[in-house]
Subunit: 265 residues, 2 copies
């Protein structure tokens, strides 16, 4: 099934196609306006520590929903969804090593698994786009490049690591507006962590992102960094926990919520 | 030691007097501008459920900080504090029954205890006062009355119960401003849960609060309800968990943070 075939469907119809395995591609641009979430699934024995890690590091790890052990239902984001089937593609890790990329994790599910859904910057990219910010990467449907910073998360138990950040080139006269717009969404990383001085967060070469394609900076562009939902995934992976399941990059969970429902003002 | 003697002291000096047992009275009006927090301490075996309960009920239970099992240090709110000694008065419960009201809980402390610090409406009362809202209960240094509503929290494990709410009479021309000001502080219950229609949340008699003194409503006053930090305490108590320790009413934990640091805009 092609992405274009999802265009006029409801969020429930789209999730049904994902559940049935009919749609297994990425969710970039799918279900316009609905909150997309990063997924991290961990065993209960480390879930408390990971929950406290998210609470102490809300910019990279804005916690949208957490399930009770064994329950695949995201009660806040989509009470009718099933996190074992409703993500287009997953990644399964054992001791930090990728072992499978299934489109359904029912065979991996256990009664002690806890699912964490975390905010995604696609939410404020929606807001930037709807505010008609003339940002070339958005207009081209591109994902911003991702850089590792030298800013460390507050560690909790086995979980530690640097904040990973997206960089968006913002025309200088729109930087304040971009700060305001993203600040309306603390549940999607909120305000930037750095404006204008990449080296202050340890980024020395904008042409060499850790993930993604570098973006051309126009003379009037300012590099602006936002904490990224890749952070909790990398932190969980580095802990080499016995088991971990995540969404595959770009293959996010689609919630029932429109991003404006999560705006604080 | 009298409350007036704390007036010109730093937050660290005030906490030192509390730690040494020299100050054991309530914290209403103490350390002007600093975030005061509700305290709930529970054993680790129910801490994950309580943490998820707070995450699912952020208006009554805005989680400011949570400690790791056995650690008495609130890493986010006051890294130098000790939650076993730095609250003026505690309440100790066993199976939901009050058994002690000590000024120090070192003798009760155990390696499996987890402390939760939750936001308090004193934060936005500060904001209302500083915005020069002419509210008589604030000017008289009174605490708003507390009502039980018929709005149920989302239950998690053993934790369930209604939202308990404070009511402030707000002159009708200032209601919108009060919504805006409190909305800047999601970490202190955020916007009201009800404006103008008490019966919509099950409150039928404003002269009979569950706690506190009823306030006189002027003809131009509108009753406005905000979720209250008494909710998580009542919920934890109703679960009749084996052990629970809380602050005594009005005897809050004083953090290092000024309330404006927690404003979202």
């Amino acid at each position: 099934m092609q992405k274009s075939e999802l265009q006029d469907l409801t969020i429930h119809q789209i999730r049904q196609h994902i559940r049935e395995g009919a749609y297994t591609s990425d969710t970039m641009g799918v279900a316009d306006g609905y909150v997309q979430a990063n997924l991290v699934i961990l065993p209960k024995d480390v879930a408390f520590d990971f929950l406290v890690f998210c609470q102490r590091n809300p910019k990279p790890c804005p916690l949208l929903d957490v399930t009770l052990p064994g329950s695949p239902t995201p009660e806040l984001l989509a009470p009718g969804a099933d996190l074992r089937t409703d993500v287009p593609r997953y990644r399964v890790f054992r001791q930090g090593e990728l072992v499978d990329e299934p489109t359904d994790i029912r065979s991996y599910w256990r009664d002690d698994l806890v699912a964490f859904l975390l905010g995604c910057s696609a939410t404020f990219d929606n807001a930037l786009r709807n505010a008609r910010m003339p940002l070339s990467f958005l207009e081209q449907g591109m994902v911003p490049p991702v850089f590792e910073t030298n800013v460390q998360c507050l560690p909790v138990g086995p979980f530690h690591g640097p904040i990973v950040a997206t960089m968006r080139p913002i025309p200088d006269h729109l930087v304040v507006k971009a700060v305001q717009l993203s600040g309306r969404f603390p549940s999607a990383h909120g305000t930037p962590i750095q404006v204008g001085y990449p080296e202050k967060v340890g980024v020395t070469d904008l042409s060499k992102p850790k993930y993604g394609t570098p973006l051309v900076m126009q003379p009037t562009d300012v590099p602006v960094f936002w904490a990224c939902g890749v952070t909790p995934q990398e932190v969980a992976m580095a802990s080499k926990t016995d088991w971990m399941i995540t969404h595959a990059p770009g293959h996010m969970f689609l919630s029932d919520r429109h991003y404006e429902q999560d705006a604080v003002v």
